[in-house]
Every structure is written in C-alpha cells, then in structure tokens.
C-alpha cells in the first residue's frame, strides 16, 4: 500500500476536533507513517482551491468536523465527499448538530435579533445586521449565507463512518486508526463507539429502587465520586447516551455526562428519551408526588433544550418546526 492521503475538513467548528486528532500521543507517529495530511486548514496552510483541484477519490480518508451552519459548510462538505473515498463524520457537530445546533431552538430571525441586538454584550449602535451581501464603510462585503437551521452532514452528503464525541476520545481515534491500517472498513453508516449506553462504562454505584428526590445543578452540591449522578439528583445523560468514550467525564472528571456521543442505535431522539428516563424516576414515591412538588423539582431544569439536547438538537424530530423551512 502506498502512502495514504488524509484531509481534515471543517464546517462550523471550534477546532477542538483538530486538536483531538493531533492529541493521540505516540499514535500520531503511526498516522504519519501511514500517510500525509494533504488538507487541513487548522493545522497547515491550505486553501479550498487546492482541495477543489484534486481528482475524485484522490483522498483516501476525509475527516469532516464542525456543524453544517451555512452554505460554505455545505459546499466544502460536498467537495470533500467528491474527493474522498471515505468520508468520516467526525465529532458531535456533523453527526448530531453539536453546540451550534442549540440555536435551532429559536426561530432564525430571533437568533439574529439576540446575537446582533439584544444580547447584553452586544454593542451595535447602528443596528448593523450582517447578510450575504452588504456594504460597510464603502466596501461591498460578502459572507456565506446561513441556513435556516443547523443540519447534519448526512443531510448533505453520504457518510461512510461516524466517530462521535465532543471531541472524539483518543481511544476511539486510535480504533479508527486500527481500522484504517487493517484496510477493512466497517459497513457504511457504522458508528465507531460502543453499542451500549454510557452506564456500562461508568459503573458508579446506586441503590435500588432507583429514584430522584431532588434535582441539583452540579455546582450546587459536593459531587460524590462513587455514586451515580442520578442518585445524587444531578441530571446525567449517560443512560440515553452511547458509550465508547470510556466515560471520561464521569469517571475522571467527576462531572455528569452531557450526551456528546449521541443516542444508541435503538433511539432516534436522544433528548426526548433522556427526558423520559429522568422523569420516570422523579420523586421518591410516584403516588405521593403532588403537582406542586413536581413543578418545584422540574423548576430545577430551567433549560430542557440545553440540558437534554446539548449536542443533539439537529437530530431532534422537531427540526421541521425549527426556524422555518430547512
């Protein structure tokens, strides 16, 4: 096998995924041995034109990270698909929407209104609103056009493999490396992670029957390192989240899971499912939980969207309703 060609292509991203690829310790040497990164704006000086000029299937593996937020993201995703034999949806953003997709919870215009006018940190005396084409100070400016809502990479192009996580765990990137080295790709659409939910890896202790009497925000209590977060009344998305990350946040970080690995294969809607799980064990006694008590406990979840759909908003089936026609 000759040297392989890799591309790291990004949409609306924080570039944490770029760092994650580089941050695989000594295994980076295997990557270098296997081939070259021929495109990767964050880590090297490359331009879109270079990618566009490549022959179809010239790239062996393209990692796409970041959300599909605007038409530039759509364009580069399509280019990457054309040039790469294997396209990987890398990280939570292209796979489920990621953090940028939280904006899907509000209508498009409202999002602009908040970002450019209403937010307390905005100083915009001239009420300037950026658009695809605008003039400012005598200059004609063009910007990529935002889509009505954040969509998934799979909504734009065919995806061969998914590596979820925000960012993906080094363990999973290592597994991806093994897959690449073996030359035997899993079936199309395969999600490189565990089949089971996070609880399988987290293994914190709990008592039966499992109930939640009170809900606490993580900063409000001293978090026990041994006990299940749900047991402590802290919302943890672990039960509705795919494992495979090694439970880094819960085991090492002593922080609850926020769901960046997405849902398991039997669940379509991660947030809706986690809400059902959480509500099932709410209150110490089903029959005695009064409406007032329920409202009081639920008031501790002021932001269900941000709590249960932190990474999965673009996968929510309500997306048709989000920000007008997608």
């Amino acid at each position: 096998m000759g040297r392989m060609k890799f591309a790291i292509v990004n949409g609306a991203t924080c570039s944490g995924c770029d760092i994650a690829i580089l941050d695989i310790n000594e295994r980076i040497l295997e990557l270098v041995e296997l081939g070259d990164v021929v495109f990767g704006p964050t880590i090297m000086d490359t331009k879109y034109e270079e990618l566009e000029a490549m022959a179809p299937d010239e790239i062996d593996i393209a990692f796409y990270h970041g959300s599909i937020r605007n038409n530039e993201n759509v364009h580069i995703a399509k280019v990457a698909r054309e040039k790469a034999r294997v396209l990987i949806s890398f990280g939570s953003c292209p796979s489920f929407g990621g953090i940028p997709a939280l904006a899907n919870a509000v209508p498009y215009n409202e999002m602009f209104q908040v970002a450019y006018k209403d937010s307390v940190s905005t100083d915009n005396p001239e009420d300037y609103m950026p658009g695809p084409e605008s003039s400012w100070d005598g200059y004609e400016l063009t910007l990529p056009e935002l889509l009505p809502s954040v969509i998934l990479l799979e909504d734009v192009v065919d995806v061969d493999l998914y590596i979820p996580g925000c960012p993906p765990a080094p363990k999973l990137i290592g597994q991806a490396l093994d897959v690449v080295k073996s030359g035997e790709l899993p079936p199309k659409g395969f999600i490189l992670a565990s089949d089971k939910n996070l609880c399988e890896e987290c293994q914190r202790s709990y008592t039966l029957p499992r109930r939640v009497g009170e809900i606490h925000r993580p900063h409000e209590i001293q978090l026990d390192r041994e006990k299940c977060f749900l047991e402590q009344g802290v919302v943890c998305a672990g039960p509705a989240t795919r494992g495979g990350c090694g439970a880094r946040c819960t085991v090492l970080g002593n922080m609850p899971c926020r769901g960046c690995m997405g849902a398991t294969r039997e669940v379509v809607d991660q947030g809706g499912t986690m809400m059902s799980v959480m509500a099932t064990i709410l209150g110490l006694d089903d029959a005695k939980l009064t409406d007032e008590e329920r409202d009081r406990i639920l008031a501790k979840i002021p932001d269900p969207v941000g709590t249960f759909y932190r990474f999965g908003m673009a996968k929510s089936r309500l997306k048709k309703l989000q920000g007008g026609a997608a």
Binding site: R265, G272, I281, A287, R317, L318
Partner: protein
Amino acid sequence: MIYLGIKIFFCTCDGQIGALPTTDFGEDTEFIVREKACTPEGIGEVKAAAAQGPVVLAGCSPMVAERFFGNLPIEYVNVREQVVFAGHPLDKAVDLIRGTVAKARATLAPVLREMPVAAKSAMIIGGGIAGMEAASRISAAGFPVTLVEKAPVLGGIVGKLDRLYPEGTPGSHTVYHYVNRVTADPNITVFTNAELESMGGQVGDYGAKLKVSSSSVGDCDACGKCAEVCPITVDDYGIERKAIFYGGFGSYVVDAAACNECGECMKVCENVKIGAFEEKEIKAGAAVVATGLKPFDATAIKEYGYGVYPGVMNSIEFERRVTAGLIKPDKVVIIACAGSRDRNYLEYCSQVCCLICLKEAKLIKDVNPDAEVWVDYIDMRCYGVFENFYTAVREKAGVNFMAGRPSQVLQREDGKLVVRAENILLGSSVEVVADTVVLSVGFVPETELLGKLGITANEQTGFPTYLTDSSLFADSNPKGIVLAGAGAYPKAAVEAAREARSAANSVVNVLMADSVQVENAVTQINADICASLNCQLCVSACPYGAISLNGEDKIVVAEERCMGCGICNGTCGAGANQLEGQSERELLAAITETVREGDVLALLCRWSAYPAADLAGWSKTAYPANTKIMRIPCTGRVTGGMVEQALASGAKGVLVAGCYPDACHFCVGNFKAKNRLGLVGKYLDQMGLPGALRLEWVGTKESGKLTEILNEMAGRM
C-alpha cells in the same frame, strides 16, 4: 418466517362501512374486502392469515374484535366506531390504515410463548387457614400438594387464638378441622419447621429449595418431661414456653428455629429426635403464597410504653394471656388504631383490628362481666354486617367507647396504668386508670419471603402488589404463583379461606393444562445494548417486579409476570426495552404515517379513554374529523419521542389521555406519564409550542369529557 407481505382485511361490518377512496397501501400489501369478518368462516380466514404473516384488520373497534381473535398479533384499525359512527369522512380511515400498515412493517414480532406444565403438583407456602384451605382444595382436584410451614405446627396466627370474630367462635372450630383434614390427606405432604430457601424456574415447572428441620417427636404420651429439661424459653405471642412444647394438636413438638440442639430432651424421651436442618428440593407447577402476617411491633410507639410497662400488651398477647388465665383484668383500656393510620408508624388501615378490638372487649366481658372496658378509637370501621357486632358489643355487652386517640400511657407508683386522651366528642381531656392496656396494633407482612419469590411490595404498605391475583386483572398472564390469605393483606379468617379457594382454582387451572400461554405481549430486552448491572433503571420502574438482573450480566423479563404496560420502554435510555407490538419503532412509524398537517393525535389508554372514544361514536357525540386516535396500553407507554414525532409530522396538538390518578390499570403508569409529559411540556414551551401537549384523565364512560377536550384542542389551533 418468510415475509409474505401484509394482508389488510377490510370488513364492511355488514355494510355499515362504505368503500374507501383508495385501496392502495403499498406493493407489499394485499387488500381483502369482507362483508363480515366475524362469521365463523371470516374468523377462520383471518386467523389463518395471522398465523402466516402480519395482518391488519380494519372494521369495528378492537374492543369488540378482540373477542374473536384473542391474543393473535393482529393490528386493528377502528373504522366503524371512530370514523363511520363519529361521522368522519373515510379519508381518515385511509390515514389510519396507512399508519397501521407502517406499524405492521416495523413490527417486533411477538413470540407465542408456551410454557409446558411439567410438574403436575403444587406447593403451598404457609400452613395457616389460607394455606391449608388451598392445599385441601388442590388435593381434592387430584394434584399432589407440598405444604411448607415455618412454625413447628400448622394453624398460623389463627391457631394461636382462642376465638374468632364476630361471635367469638372458638378458633378450634376452624383450625382443628383444617389441620386434621390436611394431616390425614395422603395427597398432601406437610413440612413443618421448614422454610423456603429459594425458588427458580417458571410457571409449570418451578424448583424450590427448602430448609427442613430433621427434629421430630414420635408417639407422645404428654408426660411433659422433655419440656421440663429444655433450657430454652421462647416468648410465643405473650406466653412463655420451651423450645419443645405442647403444640396443640395431639403432640409435643420441637420449635426448630429456637432449639439449640443440646439434646437434653432426647435423654428423657426416646421418641424425641433432634437434628439439624436439611436441604430438600421439590418441584411444583404452581404455588400459593399464604404466608400470613405478624403484628406491628408496638415498641416503636414510645408514648404507649409497650415493652416498658408489663400491663401494656398487644391484642394477640392479651387474648392469649387472658384465655390462658395468666391475667384477670378488672379494668381494661383497648387502644384502637395503635400506631395505625399514623404517619409515624403504619400509614394504612389493617382493616381487621377494629373487629379484633370488639372481639377482645367481648372476651373480657365474657370472662368477667364486672370488668370495666374502654375502647379508645379514632373511627370504628366495622364494615358490612360487622356493624351488628359493633352494636351488640356497645349496647348489650356494656363496653364503653370513647372517641379520641390516647396521647400517652403512664404507670403510677401502685402499678396502675393511666391512659391520657382527649374525648374529641366532648372536647375534654380524660384520664382513665386501668390495670391492663391493650394495643390493637395493625399488621405487617412477612416481607423476606416475598423478596425470595420476586414479588414486589406496595411502596406504602409493604404488602405485595396484587399482580398475581388474576381476579384483579382479566388480561393477566398465566400466574404460577398466587397470593392468598392475610399475607396479601390483613383479613378475617373466613375471607382468607374464601381467597384460598380462588387461589386453589387458579393453581388447578394451571396444573390441568398441558401448557400455559403468555396472554399478552411482553417486553423484550436487547442484551446487545443493555448496560445491565450498571444501570437497572427498568428494574426500578417495573410495577410488577417482572424485570430482574439475572446473575451478574443480564437483565431479564419474567414473561409470566410482565403485564405489557410498556412503562419500561420509556425508562430505558438505550432503547433496549421494547414491548412487543408497541415498540418505539412501530409506534413512531404509525404516528408518522397516520398524522397529517393540522391533525390532533390522541394517544388513548386502552383501559379508559379509548373505550370513551368508542362510546362517543356509539352515542354520536361529535368531535373533529382531524382527530387521529391511537390505542396505547397505558399512558405510561408514551415517550417524549412519540410526542415529538407527532408534532414533527404536522400534528398541531397531542392529547394523551388515560385513567385517573391512583386508578391506573398498571398501578403507576399515569404517574410516570405525568412526570414525563410534564418535562416534555417544558421542552415544548421552550421550542415555542406551548399548549401543544395535553395530558388528561378520562373515564370509560366519559365520552363527553373526551370530545369536549378534543373540540377545545381543535378550536385552539
């Protein structure tokens, strides 16, 4: 099974339903029109098709159609009651069939579960009135019975008593009769001093491990020497006795649980044999659990001085001491509801203690007509004909009754007891001096054994959830383990016996069959994605204890115990728990295809709101034609995902309606729904869809309420 496509039977219900605007439901479907599917030929045809592949039957309501097709996995479409009778256009029927066909395509095929009845014998746990009655009845039907009793003698708690209420009939009327019948029956094997260690297997073929004492007493001439030399003294409900004692049925017996195996008794009598506990294994096709109850430990009620003042005792100790002649009280205060209906101790009413109060009051008067007896009560709950007993004790026996729960019992220096109370009828505080205070305590179940059998306990009472009593659930699965008697809840001896007969009937029904079938769809667990030991959320959520951790690494569903509520579907974050015929994939597919832009989707509980919708059709109560109704097993089956799918598919509103609080067919399903939909509602508010989701309680006959809600929802849009 080879997928042969979906057969859609469209029954016109004898011309009541007209022709559909289209009969094209996809290439994999076959549309078959029948005038009347409920004729013997029609039933045969549909049944034959259902045995081969998925079948959709569009016609009358499933509430009617099910009687012809039993538990066959047929998908029903209610065209008659909810489209034609409701006065809606047949386009709606097309949508409903489309949705149902989509559901059938996604079907998690139910497995027909046959459990062979291999062991044609029964096991009874508990040798009290209920256990003995059940044993006799099952034996009479011709099946061998093993009766396991923890105590050294049969009779249970009734055997310890002198008399039974209401009349004060000697307990021996009942007990000797039962004991003699059971003992003489060659078909009944009795193990006393025996306990159940564990129980495995399933209905039709249980394997029980017993721990049985090998101590025994042979021919006994009642010389009593054995008891004289026995060094162990036991407090047996208020009466002290030795670990070897006269057991009441013609012989001295060994109390193996108390015996220290010193062997002194064997030195004075060659007929006594003392030995260790031995393991025994028995097989049974079905079992009756009749473990009875025990009195609440009154030492917890500090203010009454039980265990501190010798004159304070519970009702059973009192009866035993009086009738044994150990005490001769002249002035007695009986405190009814001692510790019962009290948030600090027992919150529930044990329902027998009021009558026991009356019985003890009469007993004192019978023994000593000059005695002064007070009953301090909160309410006298003498249900049904027992009111006559109350009247008789009050008016004829001369017992004084005072309304008011005593606050304190104190002992004076002369040893007399002082009962402080407020007479709430007169509004005055009262102090009554007495020589004996009887605490009429409530009763608590024997919980340890219930755990071994995997029977879940009611969170408030600790008594078992009534899952195994088939009389309460007409749809229940074949139950191999049936509860009977006071172990299920405190009850009178006569009621325990009556319940035992019903339990025996259930057991005999199982034993008579070659095999039993699981009646309803059950939950399947996908082990590939289940986190088992590390999660167990569904174990906590199942109201029937049907889900358990098997060994270290596998969550399993006891199919005979699963009632098909679907609560666990919404509990598993991984989506591993899926109820057959109601799996998430099926329901989402059905919702997607059924709902059209602007519809209201009504997810109606099959036990309450769905029949109400049928009734609306029969009574021609109008509701909007864009109401799409889906039948769900319980509101507890509804997940956030289903609501979201409906809205994403264009629904302008989603109604979830089911049984009123505390009246859920599956105990807690509607509470789960309330929590879940409360949270989902908050999410929808945030998404700019306030009020799109409603959860309502609708009774079977409340078609008016249902249609009012539906009209309101349509009007709101």
